[in-house]
């Protein structure tokens, strides 16, 4: 009998390999939903040798097991009473209430009044089944997920350029021997620390180029000869990339044979970047012209030596022009001849644990499993066959996340919402409006294992399983499919989402089948994905259990695809497409009405200690002790002019809301910019300030470029006191 389970970390897309050891022998896996045995004592976590993390883990991984037996865990279905207090009810009652709510809503407003919001943390099996459940059990088109807030821009750009989107189209280890790596808007030193091992080679070769308005922990690696740090003004990344492409073209650094043989659109691209000569780009971005030239030359030079890679992250993608910015990065990589070669490439760093798999299997409003388009008749016919339902039973495209959330409680909007693996009350742009939307619903059901800020709003909270309590698969940032193993029995009363869906499907008399067994669902996913872009048909649990490196597309009979596009891109004709892009004029933000406050640019991001909305990591005492609250990073020069000292309470506000938190003085940030982490709720919730404006192609909201009015909070308190006394 085994005493340990080889699995992967519950958090980010690096999916570090870890081993969970229990002091007692592990009980063999049982079907979720069967009568659980009492939970075993706390598990011991250790790093495991694996190509992505090489045995390393960060603090989040090390402490992940402490949540399994957390006293705050939800272990019974909780119904909100008229007094606003959640009280336990039985599963039978919970399922009956959901069924009634769905049926009532459908009868009154139609099937599209029921909505589903998924997450990039769900396993492949759950993501797949959730899409199927929404479309043929609930009959709604209104399903989307929080990956719309992460990967949608890079995904849309990858589709447009390559005809296929896999975050890294090459194994991570390929970075080890590169001569030049340019990372744009990605702070891996904080967000996925073990990744940094793969940058050691390029740092030794002085070839790391980091583009970030902050001198982030990752940007600091460029010091002491490690490479270059480009510090553009927030919101000017696209212009910077056009400037780099300009230099590549005008200095004769284009890989002309490659461009000729493997791409379309070169001439139009040349014309489109012509207007972005380095000095003009310097005037817009603040990045010195010679640094732009140097960067372009190093990328070209690296491609001729050990290889060059261009990697983008959320910093450049989470904008209203995110798709175009990612496209500009891809265009640059195509000019240099990087993608689809043996030693170079372009990639986007997926963030959430199953952010890759989560965007392939039909959780997206416009998508069917296998990364198929929901509007494609062939795709619909294929899925109708797999699901054994008539084709017209599959609804058409729904609404992308921001629009879906804007529709909550509206006429013709969603009145009854299911939320899975997502804390939208903290993680969505314009969070105050989202919370208002949640409160205006007829019925809100949230699946979570903690009383998250979103669960707290719910009529009904269903307790679900944590990563170590169930089987499943995830697809990491490289497009490699991994098995997550059960190591421990779940608490009595918690259930897998697969079981919940299967029960509800039955209660709703849904067609097709909804299994509660992960492997059975995976077998169906294989069939569903067969022939699609993200083809998993050749992958099974047994081979994953043996640790085989399975990179999709992995059609049955093949051996998978560690490196994509070596022979051809996925567009018809096999060529990559260079689409000209240009900066658009930005909307004018509301005027600052507070004379005591200074208008500054807000960027948001992550801290090493926390993950996403913090619903999990804020409950780990070690992590919370280290980063207990949101702190607004501000440059000492800017702070001095406002009388803000380190640790002072500040108010950060705009027309959407207000955050009050402590200031942290740092020269790592530009003087006109402030930074807030987005892991904290309520008065410290950064997303109260972000705008729900979206990219026209991907639906990505603007998270990284918002105007805010900053001032000492003492003034706020004084004024409100003053107003109160006047009123009384």
């Amino acid at each position: 009998m085994t005493k340990s389970a080889d699995t992967h970390c519950p958090y980010c897309a690096l999916q570090c390999a870890m081993t969970l050891k229990s002091p007692a022998a592990l009980t063999p896996a049982v079907q979720p939903g069967s009568e659980p045995v009492p939970a075993a004592p706390a598990l011991e976590v250790s790093g495991r040798e694996f190509p992505t993390n090489r045995g390393g883990l960060c603090r989040k991984g090390w402490t992940s097991a402490s949540l399994l037996h957390h006293p705050g865990r939800v272990t019974e279905p909780m119904l909100k009473g008229p007094d606003g207090v959640h009280r336990p009810i039985t599963w039978d009652e919970a399922l009956a209430r959901i069924t009634t709510a769905v049926k009532d809503t459908r009868a009154k407003y139609g099937a599209d009044a029921v909505g589903v919001f998924g997450g990039g943390g769900l396993t492949n099996e759950k993501a797949y089944q959730l899409g199927k459940f929404a479309r043929i059990a609930l009959g709604t088109s209104r399903i989307d997920y929080n990956g719309r807030f992460c990967m949608s821009s890079a995904a849309a750009a990858g589709m447009r350029s390559f005809g296929l989107d896999r975050g890294l189209p090459f194994p991570l280890e390929a970075l080890d021997t590169a001569s030049t790596i340019m990372m744009l808007g990605s702070n891996v030193a904080e967000t996925m620390p073990p990744f940094v091992q793969h940058l050691q080679g390029v740092r030794d070769a002085s070839g790391l180029i980091v583009v970030d308005p902050r001198r982030s922990a990752t940007a600091a690696f460029t010091a002491d000869g490690g490479g270059l740090h480009l510090q553009p003004l927030p919101g000017t990344d696209l212009t910077l990339l056009l400037g780099l492409a300009h230099v590549v073209i005008h200095e004769g650094l284009v890989d002309t044979d490659y461009v000729q043989a493997r791409t379309n659109g070169y001439d139009a691209l040349v014309r489109s970047v012509n207007a972005f000569w380095p000095e003009r780009v310097q005037s817009i971005t603040g990045v010195p012209a010679d640094l732009i030239r140097e960067t372009a030359r190093r990328l070209a030079d690296g491609a001729r030596r050990g290889g060059s890679y261009i990697l983008t992250g959320r910093g450049v993608e989470q904008h209203v022009d995110g798709t175009d910015t990612a496209t500009a990065a891809i265009n640059l990589s195509l000019l240099l001849g990087l993608p689809g070669t043996a030693r170079s490439g372009y990639g986007t760093l997926t963030g959430q644990g199953n952010g890759q798999g989560g965007r392939e299997h039909g959780q997206k409003a416009d998508q069917l499993p296998g990364y198929r388009k929901i509007t494609d008749p062939a795709a619909r016919a294929h899925m109708a066959k797999v699901w054994n339902v008539p084709e017209d039973l599959i609804p058409g495209p729904g609404l992308p996340a921001v629009q879906l959330l804007k529709s909550l409680g509206q006429p013709d909007g969603v009145r009854c919402l299911f939320v899975h693996a997502s804390n939208i009350a903290v993680a969505s742009p314009d969070a105050n409006s989202v919370i208002d939307g949640l409160r205006s619903l007829d019925f809100l059901m949230v699946c979570d294992f903690f009383m998250s800020e979103t669960a707290a709003e719910a009529d009904l909270v269903l307790p679900v399983l944590q990563w170590a309590e169930e089987e499943g698969t995830l697809t990491n940032l490289e497009g490699r499919v991994l098995r997550r193993r059960q190591a421990i029995q779940p608490p009595a009363g918690a259930r897998s989402e697969l079981w919940i869906m299967s029960q509800l499907a039955e209660a709703l008399d849904a067609p097709s089948t909804f299994s509660d067994d992960p492997e059975t669902v995976f077998e169906e996913l294989r069939l569903a994905s067969a022939g699609g872009l993200a083809d998993y048909s050749g992958i099974d649990y047994a081979m994953l259990g043996k640790g085989e490196a399975a990179y999709w597309p992995y059609p049955a009979g093949s051996t998978g695809t560690p490196r994509l596009f070596l022979d051809a891109f996925a567009h018809a004709g096999g060529k990559a497409v260079m689409t000209p892009v240009a900066p658009r004029r930005r909307r004018t933000p509301a005027a600052n009405t507070d004379p005591a406050a200074k208008t500054m640019t807000l960027i948001t991001g992550r801290l090493l200690e926390h993950y996403q909305s913090g619903a999990q990591t804020r409950r780990v005492s070690e992590l919370l002790a280290s980063q207990p609250e949101a702190r607004m990073q501000i440059h000492p020069a800017a702070a001095a002019s406002m009388g803000i000292t380190d640790g002072a309470l500040v108010s950060v506000a705009n027309e959407r809301g207000e955050v009050v938190c402590r200031a942290e003085l740092s020269t790592a940030i530009r003087p006109e910019t402030v930074f807030l982490p987005f892991h904290f709720p309520e008065l410290e919730s950064a997303n109260r300030l972000t705008e729900a404006a979206t990219d026209p192609i991907s639906g990505m909201p603007e998270f990284k470029f918002n105007k805010v009015w900053v001032r000492l909070a003492a003034n706020v308190l004084n004024t409100s006191v003053l107003q109160t006394s006047e009123a009384s």
């Binding site: 390393g56 960060c58 091992q197 690696f221 005008h250 040349v270 207007a275 603040g286």
Partner: protein, 520 residues
């Protein structure tokens, strides 16, 4: 019938206008005819000097593709001139005998080089015939002339110390030509920068291999080359500067003669209001180098301080984008709807950034005041308006100079030579009208080596050594004291070094420090 828009001129600004109108053309909302005098479709004139020194190719300069535009339904007419405009019939008559009807006519005729009055050069400004070996470096053919001289490592004389002259000189020198810049006044860029900046700039130019002849008034050219071409530039003091090619870089002048010919008001350029419309003529607009925004309202405060055309392409592009939106609104609905589009805001004074490799210079606004000029600094400081303030840094030995002229903390002028990061930040601050940090020296330190150094391991035991696992130096030392003597042992005891591995050297350092202390 869709609205017919005729654009006279096909330079960079016209190309942008056509691009922005394309959606309307594809939708059948407007018809667009664009008329270019040169045989080539629009190309990036800003980079002609780069082409002239062989740094780029004509293909890479293209801003428009005539065939692609024609396929989209744009009527592209190249190699023809507009002879005259018949405003009564709303027609333009072309040199090839054809004509085109317009509902809206846009002048984007740009500018032409100023040809200085020199003996040996035909002074007719409208149709100068430049002798062999003399070029004004404006179009692709001029670039070819320069390219031959540079490739032959010839001697190039640049007349004019403006930004375009300096850029040409630096590029040609770097590519191997022997270059002399001849300018009047005490320093180059006389109109844009102050004495200190000018001195440092001139020194930097010399360091880059460019000879600089200042305070020189030129009077004529000599044609004693074997082919009868240019051989020397003659100066008023009787001296001569020998060379094989003379590049005239004496500024540009708006091309307004066609507009004048049809009775439109002109000043320096074609006079237009804030909607870029010619005075008293709702069917005609002008944008770019040929346009001068100065509305007919005598009370308009904006126009009282307006300067003439900037000669920079950025403002022209902004005008093209705005006008396209306006024209599409006009084509789609009533005038009042179109007029609800807010007018283009007034341009800030242009920022000059020297396009050159290995040398960095930026200037903007008025830099004439010096730190101790009480009279100049306080002039205009009435009714609570703050006075001008100057902060300055000069390090001629290392080719560095910065001057910030501010009012109320906001830049009204800037000069930066030899400090790229500082220049980048100052230009940003200038364009946004943002307040400078009270400690101005902050802006000077951006280019310092201390900005690049990493934090390094701190000796404070409370400070974090391993960020990934959140382990302090104190904890590591504790583990070493407790028996750990290798990084691996420290890692398994404290988790330090178990994430990215970046702190292994620091852990090793702490182990060594412990054992050294023990040995001592």
């Amino acid at each position: 019938m869709s609205e017919q828009i005729v654009i006279v001129g096909f330079g960079p600004v016209a190309a942008r206008l056509v691009d922005e109108l394309l959606p309307g053309v594809r939708a059948g909302q407007v018809g667009v005819t664009v008329i270019g005098q040169e045989a080539d479709a629009a190309y990036n004139r800003v980079l002609v000097a780069d082409l002239g020194v062989g740094r780029t190719t004509p293909e890479a300069l293209a801003l428009a593709d005539a065939a692609a535009l024609a396929a989209d339904g744009v009527d592209v007419r190249l190699g023809v001139k507009v002879k005259r405009v018949d405003r009564a019939r709303q027609n333009v008559i072309l040199s090839d005998g054809t004509s085109a009807h317009y509902d809206r006519l846009v002048f984007a005729t740009g500018s032409r080089p100023v040809i200085p009055n020199l003996t040996g050069i035909n002074p007719d400004p409208a149709a100068p015939v430049l002798p062999e070996g003399v070029t004004a470096l404006r179009d692709l053919r001029d670039a070819e002339v320069l390219r031959k001289a540079v490739a032959g490592r010839k001697r190039v004389v640049v007349l004019g110390g403006g930004v375009l002259g300096l850029e040409t000189a630096l590029a040609a020198a770097e590519e191997g030509a022997t270059v002399t810049v001849v300018h009047n006044g005490p320093h180059p860029l006389g109109r844009n920068i102050d004495r200190g900046g000018g001195a440092v700039l001139a020194a930097s130019l010399r360091n880059c291999g460019v000879r600089v002849a200042g305070n020189a008034r030129s009077t004529g050219v000599e044609h004693n080359a074997p082919d009868g071409g240019f051989s020397a530039l003659l100066l008023h003091d009787g001296s001569a500067i020998d060379g094989d090619l003379l590049v005239l870089s004496c500024g540009v002048r708006p091309r307004t003669e066609l507009a004048e010919g049809c009775g439109l008001s002109t000043g320096t350029g074609i006079l237009v209001d804030h909607r870029l419309r010619a005075h008293h003529e709702p069917h005609i607009f002008a944008i770019g180098d040929c346009a001068e925004v100065r509305c007919p309202e005598p009370e308009c405060i904006e126009c009282r301080t307006a300067r003439g055309p900037s000669g920079l392409v950025g403002p022209g592009w902004r005008q093209a984008e705005w006008l396209a939106e306006y024209l599409l609104l006009l084509a789609g609905g009533p005038q009042e709807d179109a007029d609800s589009l807010p007018a283009l805001p007034q341009e800030k004074p242009g920022v000059i950034v020297l396009k050159a490799r290995g040398m960095n210079m930026a200037a903007a606004g008025d830099n004439s005041a010096e730190p101790w000029d009480e009279e100049v600094l306080t002039a205009g400081a009435v009714n609570g308006r703050p006075r001008l303030q100057i902060a300055q840094w000069a390090d001629p030995e290392h080719g560095r100079y910065v001057k910030m002229t501010t009012r109320g903390g906001v830049l009204e002028g800037l000069v930066s030579v030899g400090m790229p990061r500082t220049a980048g930040e100052l230009v940003q601050l200038f364009e946004r009208g943002a307040e400078l940090p009270a400690d101005r020296s902050l802006l000077l330190r951006l280019d310092g080596p201390d900005q690049l150094a990493s934090a390094g391991a701190s000796s404070d035991p409370e400070s974090t050594v391993c960020r990934c696992a959140g382990v302090s130096g104190g904890k590591i030392t504790e583990a070493v004291t407790g028996g750990c003597s290798t990084v691996a042992e420290v890692s398994s005891a404290t988790r330090a070094g178990t994430g990215c591995g970046g702190c292994h050297e620091d852990i090793k350092g702490l182990i060594e420090k412990h054992f050294q202390a023990a040995a001592a």
